[in-house]
Subunit: 331 residues, 2 copies
Amino acid sequence: MIRTAALRALLFIVLVAFSYPALAQTDPLPSWNDGAAKTSITDFVARTTAQGNPDFVPQDQRIAVFDNDGTLWIEQPMYVQLAFILDRVRALAPQNPAWKSKQPYKAVLDGDMKALAASGEKGLVELMAATHAGMTADEFSKIVTDWIAAARHPKFNKPYTELVYQPMLEVLAYLRANGFKTFIVSGGGIEFMRPWAEKVYGIPPEQVVGSSIKTRFEMRDGRPVLMRLPQINFIDDKTGKPVGINQHIGRRPIAAFGNSDGDLEMLQWTTMSGSGARFGLIVHHTDAEREYAYDRQSHVGKLDKALDAAAINKWTVVDMKKDWKRVFAFQ
Amino acid sequence: MIRTAALRALLFIVLVAFSYPALAQTDPLPSWNDGAAKTSITDFVARTTAQGNPDFVPQDQRIAVFDNDGTLWIEQPMYVQLAFILDRVRALAPQNPAWKSKQPYKAVLDGDMKALAASGEKGLVELMAATHAGMTADEFSKIVTDWIAAARHPKFNKPYTELVYQPMLEVLAYLRANGFKTFIVSGGGIEFMRPWAEKVYGIPPEQVVGSSIKTRFEMRDGRPVLMRLPQINFIDDKTGKPVGINQHIGRRPIAAFGNSDGDLEMLQWTTMSGSGARFGLIVHHTDAEREYAYDRQSHVGKLDKALDAAAINKWTVVDMKKDWKRVFAFQ
């Protein structure tokens, strides 16, 4: 026992001596310009992780939740998952000749976005069912993996997985290095994100929360499979986000990162209930040159009520143009 | 960089030199008698964690799932959550005078288990709604916490949290020490387990999967709350278990531990699909003296089909009487 105690003490001294100066010298958020937004993040982490600080939070309670579309990766000119749906309809069209004359498929195949929009939510749900259901969970995972490797963004001509925000990747890594557990809480499909989220964000499947369709357990040729059914199970958006957080995580996050009105209730749930230090952040898309500029009037990623709430609740609002040295790693 | 590399090498050597003999000398499962059941566990862990072994599994894929009732803690003479429901009905009765003459409440208040059984699933759902809904998620958590601290088992006169199986606690700790992530996957209520599962099992709320009722996000007096609604959201039992595993964990477990037919599909999903080493285990309640003996004919924790499937699929079947030195820590 003495030998072990002595060894531990030695290791501690060695680790502190070697590691501490290294940590102190390195900027954990190199893609962030100095300013209030950056300082709000580093200040929150410093306060919640320093033993003895009145805002100290034990490690197991350091839960941080991140929206995905528009917060961690690009969501313009359309949600990536919508691009996936459209591509899948095109890919499946030869096996479904009736689609040529049937809405909403016809609109997709004709590239008629106006007719597609006219088909409304009902049309979208039908396209979802046609592209997301009718296969096993494993098969769908492979379809997503193959698609995400091949697809390119129309403006940047890059894989979507390269159109993730470098400053936010740094926040993810910085939080994790400080004992936070990072979760995605997205309106996007949970099984659409899981196949690539670990590689791209370092977030394992069990820390991804999202919308889902129902699945059914079946034996097929003597092997168990989960069949994906054309029925909505859960919509993880707006008031659904706190519900999804509670269902999957089971405790209140202390930090939430979003970019649109879909994140309002998640930010409220994180920062306005419970006690202790809390952090809310909104990514405001202000950079038409390096990415896109949009907010109150946008159809995708509308940021209106949540922007007003940010001022009232003292959430950090990131001005992408001003606060970020670069948006994407390749820039 | 050279200094860091040299330090790492030094640390590695020191750690190996000091830790390895200590680990090798200690029995990780001291409450298990030597025999096939114990060996099957240690053998599986050895094979899946030894780099170079054909059965080696990378750490992030070492997912182990555990049923709760009858696998980690006692489920006789009735599910603990049912005891909670009955106690809550009694506690709430003074505020609900009509219950005295209204079934299924009357049966509970009269202690008439026959009449209660006659009310069937419909009666139980009504009692669930009356005791589990109509309050916030935080309020329910506190009700559970208070109850579990005060309640005593009718046979052992101990808190239920002491009626957890010591040999299984050792398996949980042993797996985690070997890089496994341990999850509960129970037919019981997810919010009934989370308040105490971390303290008792070392399993954090985000690694608890269970049945649930619906919740709704609301602002109440300017603060966000999740209201618990009298509607079933998800039943995490039988074919629901693989669905719950996929929904919450998002990848296939490589080890599953259960004790009843409610765990059959979870065991199938874990061991019969996918490739690589897999492990299934069933706790067979054979010890009428130290706990209870029951299987094919039992109303609670019926073990029939899964026992037959165990032989076919080479799942380990634990004979509690023979394989466990002690059932509970206090014995």
